[in-house]
């Protein structure tokens, strides 16, 4: 009797385990859809259907075309706002080319992505397409033939004319001694300040800050009203790094940091140290919550979207998060304030641009179809999908917005993108040392925890000096 009971228990547990496995496999497909809600129109109804891509399945692939697998490695996965875009683009491309199979190795987490990419590069198993950040990171790969030269794309005037950078010079590597075009810019995301209108009103702030002096005044008013002026989840070091980019470019200009990468300027130069002092000044002013160095991005984001913080500094990809929150009606954004005494850098902005690169080892039909995929993911249809399905500002000027009512934030974002003049990514992006990302960001957090700006600058500069 006891034996039968044990058998029954074992069988029940096995069935439960298998059911759990089946449920887990099923939920994987849902994750991509739930990760980013489709863009909403002003009245809250779902977005209009996107137009179909050009070409038909019959016209695109023939029975003679060989079977090919395109491997894609990006961070557009999980809860990334662009994960639905990637999935849709792969599905639509397969409709046009049924002989193509996609192997999507994308992961959202930066460390996991980094591990996958480095392993692929070390073993020679390059994906057909992957993404990089910054120009300097492309140099070694380009020099060693890992990246495809995309100069031939300039011949396609129709494709290039709609791009915000028709000459594809965003990732110009000539300054590093490498000729050619090795990356297509994707998803331009300027950094802005999202703010809570209700909290601003509560603190008696009548207009959004235009200058840093206005910003300091706003911080004082918010503090006086008992409101945390600005969220900063510096445990995720990129948060402080991003805010520093905004301050640094408005105060010292993008070229200062390009010159550091070119080794004609240093982190210990007075104008750079001033930028560090300005950043530290925000903490001294009480702009951030106490112990913000231990708060992570997800807590910061949740606190802002629940009305705890008055402002956060974040790129425009945050728009779907803001519009999807319970306090969406209270949220808006404004450009990073400029320094009154540095008007020459008023238009120098922190703008993050992903670099889509393609394997330089591809040959024959695989190369041809991968290049077709490259154009497909940067054409007007692709940007239309990003706009309508992901609520992201389109990266082309020829996107069809017919039948789609843009939200006020998206409208404002598109206008802001048109006005961008001098763009800079992360301050370390121009440096060929791979360690500069961590060294810079960690040093900024260390500065907030007590290191002086001068010592912080010296610590960052010493990493460069020790690796000359």
């Amino acid at each position: 009797m006891k034996k039968n009971k044990m058998r029954f228990l074992a069988l029940t547990m096995t069935v439960c385990m298998l059911a759990g496995l089946a449920a887990g496999c099923g939920s994987k497909n849902q994750e991509g859809e739930e990760g980013s809600a489709p863009a909403q129109t002003a009245d809250g109804s779902a977005a209009a259907e996107t137009a179909k891509p050009e070409g038909t399945a019959d016209g695109a692939a023939t029975t003679d075309d060989p079977e090919v697998t395109i491997t894609v490695l990006t961070r557009y996965a999980g809860s990334d706002p662009q994960a639905p875009w990637l999935k849709k683009m792969m599905d639509e491309f397969v409709k046009l080319h049924p002989n193509v199979t996609f192997q999507d190795d994308s992961v959202a987490d930066e460390a996991a992505y980094n591990n996958k990419l480095k392993t692929a590069i070390a073993t020679g198993n390059l994906p057909n397409m992957w993404m990089q950040y910054g120009s300097a990171s492309l140099v070694e790969y380009a020099k060693n033939g890992l990246l495809m030269d995309l100069s031939f794309m300039l011949e396609d005037e129709e494709f290039c004319s709609g791009l915000p950078d028709p000459t594809l010079s965003t990732f110009d590597l000539s300054g590093y001694g490498v000729d050619g075009i090795y990356a297509i810019p994707f998803a331009m995301q300027p950094e802005v300040i999202f703010y809570n209108k209700d909290l601003f009103q509560q603190a008696g702030i009548e207009s959004v800050p235009e200058t840093m002096d206005d910003m300091y005044a706003a911080i004082d008013k918010l503090k006086a009203a008992g409101i945390t002026p600005m969220g900063m989840g510096a445990k995720d070091t990129w948060r402080l790094g991003h805010f520093f980019n905004c301050i640094a470019y408005r105060e010292a200009g993008v070229d200062t940091f390009k010159n550091i990468g070119a080794r004609t300027a240093k982190w210990t130069d007075p104008e750079v140290v001033e930028c560090l002092k300005t950043l530290k000044g925000f903490k001294d002013k009480g702009a951030f919550e106490e112990n913000f160095e231990g708060i992570d991005w997800s807590t910061e984001s949740a606190n802002f979207l629940s009305g705890k913080y008055a402002m956060i500094c974040i790129p425009l990809w945050f728009i779907p998060n803001a519009e999807g929150s319970e306090i969406a009606d209270s949220l808006d954004f404004f450009p990073i304030p400029y320094f009154s005494g540095q008007e020459a850098y008023k238009d120098h902005s922190a703008v993050y641009v992903d670099a889509h690169v393609y394997s330089g080892k591809l040959e024959g039909y695989e190369k041809e179809i991968t290049m077709e995929w490259a154009k497909f993911t940067h054409n007007a249809f692709s940007e239309e999908v990003r706009l309508k399905d992901c609520g992201q500002t389109p990266g082309r000027t020829d996107v069809n917005t017919e039948g789609f009512e843009l939200t006020p934030m998206l409208t404002k974002a598109i206008e802001l993108n048109k006005d961008l003049k001098k763009l800079g990514g992360d301050t370390f992006e121009y440096d060929m040392l791979n360690s500069m990302q961590d060294v810079t960001r960690n040093a900024l957090v260390g500065m907030m925890l007590g290191t002086s700006p001068e010592d912080t600058a010296a610590a960052i500069q010493s990493e460069i000096d020790n690796n000359q």
Binding site: K118, N291, E293, G294, I295, L433, N442, V445, G446, N466
Partner: protein
């Protein structure tokens, strides 16, 4: 059967698979790592290795983050030995004396061990969050101890210790199991004889149980040292070695140097240094633990000689 037991060829044949796996998966990678530590390689297939001699080791020893990492790991070893070992074996001795509910307690103590390290790290990260976001700070506030609230994982005086204590919490069950097995192996008649001779619980623990489980203690010490020296997962999940390198250990530093900064030679140099650190610490600890035994044997011999002289 006896014939097979004495046949060395048969013995070697049975040992061969495990030996092969050990050599291929452990010895050869360690030797390769040692070899790579004298070269520089940017992590791109096809780019040749560049011989740099001892430059990688010099660079590592001059790196202030490495100094911090070594300080942290030595603290980890000391606190690990002072917590995991005594707590583990104390619980083992307590469990030995518990007749009813022993299985229940064993299961409860073992729960932290079966949780994935990532889950444990994230769980404690939430508990140790700063301000009112963290459970620990909320508890302290409710108990009227707000003055103790802090950013546990960013404060230079608490960050590393928190990681060490969380690791202890997650690992102590392992040593409870080892200790319990060792205590259970003590013959019953030895304990009965001690009871008859009037030994109390304390004397039993110090004069019978501990000496008789000393070999298990030695093995546990070696395991703690070697396990702690290569700790990576808990530190990476909880703090990623930050803030600003404050909680770096050699393994996290190795990860960053090799896989983020493409300094595979420097990463290999760090792993070689860790190997020798582990070896040296293990040899020293074994020697110290065997020292008492050797002294005891010498004392016995001296007593034996003097008794013979006086007789």
């Amino acid at each position: 059967m006896e014939r097979y037991r004495r046949n060395k060829k048969v013995i070697f044949l049975f040992l061969l698979p495990a030996l092969l796996i050990y050599v291929v998966l452990e010895v050869i990678p360690v030797a390769q790592s040692f070899y790579f530590s004298f070269f520089d390689w940017p992590g791109i297939q096809g780019v040749p290795l560049k011989y740099v001699g001892l430059d990688n080791f010099i660079s590592v020893f001059q790196n202030s983050q490495f100094h911090q990492a070594v300080k942290n790991i030595l603290l980890f070893v000391v606190v690990g030995l002072l917590t995991q070992l005594p707590i583990g074996f104390l619980f083992a001795i307590l469990l030995y004396n518990v007749k009813r509910g022993q299985r229940f307690f064993k299961a409860v103590y073992f729960i932290p061990m079966i949780l994935p390290v990532t889950a444990t790290g994230l769980l404690w990260q939430f508990i140790l969050k700063p301000n009112e976001s963290g459970v620990l700070n909320q508890l302290l506030t409710k108990l009227g101890l707000e003055q103790l609230c802090t950013g546990w994982l960013i404060n230079s005086s608490t960050a590393m210790m928190c990681i060490i204590l969380v690791t202890t919490w997650a690992s102590v069950a392992y040593y409870i199991v080892i200790g319990l097995a060792a205590v259970n192996a003590i013959p019953e008649d030895v304990m009965e004889a001690a009871t008859i001779d009037g030994a109390g619980q304390g004397k039993k623990v110090f004069y019978i149980i501990i000496p008789m489980i000393w070999e298990s203690v030695k093995i546990s010490v070696v395991m703690i040292i070697t396990g702690v020296l290569k700790v990576f997962d808990m530190v990476f999940v909880m703090t990623e070695g930050g803030p600003n390198g404050l909680t770096h250990v050699p393994a996290t530093l190795l990860y960053y140097q090799a896989f983020k900064y493409d300094h595979y030679g420097i990463g290999s140099a760090i792993s070689t240094i860790m190997f020798f650190m582990s070896l040296i610490l293990t040899v020293i600890s074994l020697k110290l633990m065997n020292q008492d035994k050797e002294d005891g044997v010498k004392r016995m011999k001296r007593r034996g000689k003097s008794q013979w002289k006086n007789s």
